[in-house]
Amino acid sequence: MKKLLTATAATALLTGAAFADGHAKEVKLGIIYGFTGPIESLTPPMADAAELAMKEVTDSGLLLDSATVSAVRADSTCIDSGAATAAAERLITSDGVDGIVGGDCSGVTGAILSNVALPNGMVMISPSATSPALSTAEDNGLFFRTAPSDARQGQVMTDVLMEQGVKEVALTYTNNDYGKGLADSFQQAFEAAGGTVTIAAAHEDGKADYSAEVGALAAAGGEKLVIAGYVDQGGSGIMRAALDSGAFDTFHFPDGMYGAKLEDDFGSEIDGSTGQLPGTDSPGAATIQAMGEANGFDGTSSFVGESYDAAALIMLAMQAANSKAPADYAAKVMDVANEPGEKIYPGELAKALQILKDGGDVDYVGATAVELIGPGESAGNYRQYEIKDGKITTVKFR
């Protein structure tokens, strides 16, 4: 193992030397997304956004010794860990990239992290991997993400309920990875905060009858019913049966339960119910949308803002560390992403680079109001809403 490490370190040094040391005229960033596979329709605008950030930096001529930044795309396939690992390996050994934007899906991201990024000491910032498992994965401080962990919503949900003074809830979740994961993280957070979950009952989507589930939920009781399900699936069936039998009047909805159906089908019947879903009122979201329009990609598509932010963070960290070596700038990612410092929005990368060059501090807000917490992942931004007079009303952003 030691030999391997020395060997890799030597290789890393050599590649570094080949492209000049630390300071350089050229910075290469790998973009490893699933350009083929299940999310192939999402990845092109994501990659475009990341490249737009790089172009912005190149045009400014302010990064390091007015370095140009170029992108190297690689295919993670989203599902095939073997293919993703090989592609990432290629990025580092043959293309000699200085940082990786990606991966996209949680599974391949974990594989790239442990098989390629860790042994090679490469920094990775993923815009879209949301699995809670990545929070605890060994990363030697090299892995970050601009998307929140799924576990985060459980915490946010707990905060929302606690603020309303709700201490006792019944919980039902759709019986799949999303529902179960969310329910577990919520139950853990809620009980840690001193609340009681009277029952956690699974429900299957698309079933004929939910009386049994509602019967059990009603017997357990609680001030509110938390439905970690889908609004156009079993979630509505449970809600309808709970309302009709008078078991619960108010509910709390995680993101899967948000939809026009809440207003159309239930309306004022569920007045006083609350919920939250990912969302931000940060001006960055509108800016990236406009930038996307100007550059021919859809700025509202999923994870586009996160992708821009991931690329921007790598480059700003390089500037702050005054080096493009991953070992140097990895520690700076958290610094540029968080307070203190001047707030930086999309399109203002030149300004940020100048501030850093002059020795100042920046707080990168970006397109998605980035705030990195814990093991280097986005705190996430959530829109908290309430049903008032049958309408979904935004309470605040958190």
Binding site: A212, G215, A216, A219, G237, R240, S245, A247, K261
Partner: protein, 336 residues
Amino acid sequence: MDFLNAIVALSNFVLVPAIAYGSQLALGALGVTLIYGILRFSNFAHGDTMAFGAMIAVLVTWWLQSMGVGLGPLPTALLALPVAILGCMALVLITDRLVYHFYREQKAKPVILVIVSMGVMFIMNGLVRFIIGPNDQRFADGERFLISARDFKEMTGLREGLAIKTTQGLTVVVAVIAVALLFWFLNKTRTGKSMRAYSDNEDLALLSGINPERVVMYTWLIVAALATTAGVLYGLDKSFKPFVYFQLLLPIFASAIVGGLGNPLGAIAGGFIIAFSEVTITYAWKKVLTYVLPDALAPSGLVQLLSTDYKFAVSFVILLIVLLYKPTGLFKGKAV
């Protein structure tokens, strides 16, 4: 007082929903059992036949609603029901002529017909989605509750509420009427008797001059009426979504088999057994016991026999036990 509360809580969360769900299953299982008894195969397309009938009812209801026609406190869908039944009859007769007729002429084995009915199921499935789309559709209107939980609490001063939905009441009433009509038809009319004769012994029935094609046609007509009624009632009570009807097939078959395939009485009993087993075995008795037992004995846990995750397992365990000990079902149907 506490005893009353316990009864009300139990009725609200167990008895009322289970009776309504049981009636819906019973109507569906009757259709399955008739096909099995007379045409001698398990019709997997039954769930989607229900969906098709209900879909026509939804479309006609929408049209009636747009014309401003309604039934006051009752759902408009009841007016649409006859039209829907006619539409569904047309569909099953066409299917029979195009598909099943061919296999009947060949004297195909039941197992082939079962596979054929699966093919028909997928086609009907696609047809319904093509016409109305895969999403939830709302078509219920009129008064929602016979009595709502809140009103009940105010009226009686009890702590527990009892809600009975109009659709639940309607389901039970319509189911009783439909079953009574069916039994009268099978037992008293000439056609009904010839159907039973055909079911008991095909060759003997042919010898005594019964026209098999007529029997088959009447069977399909009755099945279409039952399926549409079940589908509309279910859609009114829960919601109309094509995929859910497909899912409904499993409990319906379980009901028909538990009761004894081919036996109408068994289908009804089976429907209620499956519905009650799903709801009661997984019910958390905490609330009811807290009312009934003295404070010292009040349970702190949920007193739930099985988690609701297992509710489907429960119906199938019952199915297995019945098949092991009484292979023809509780009411002596035909052997499966």
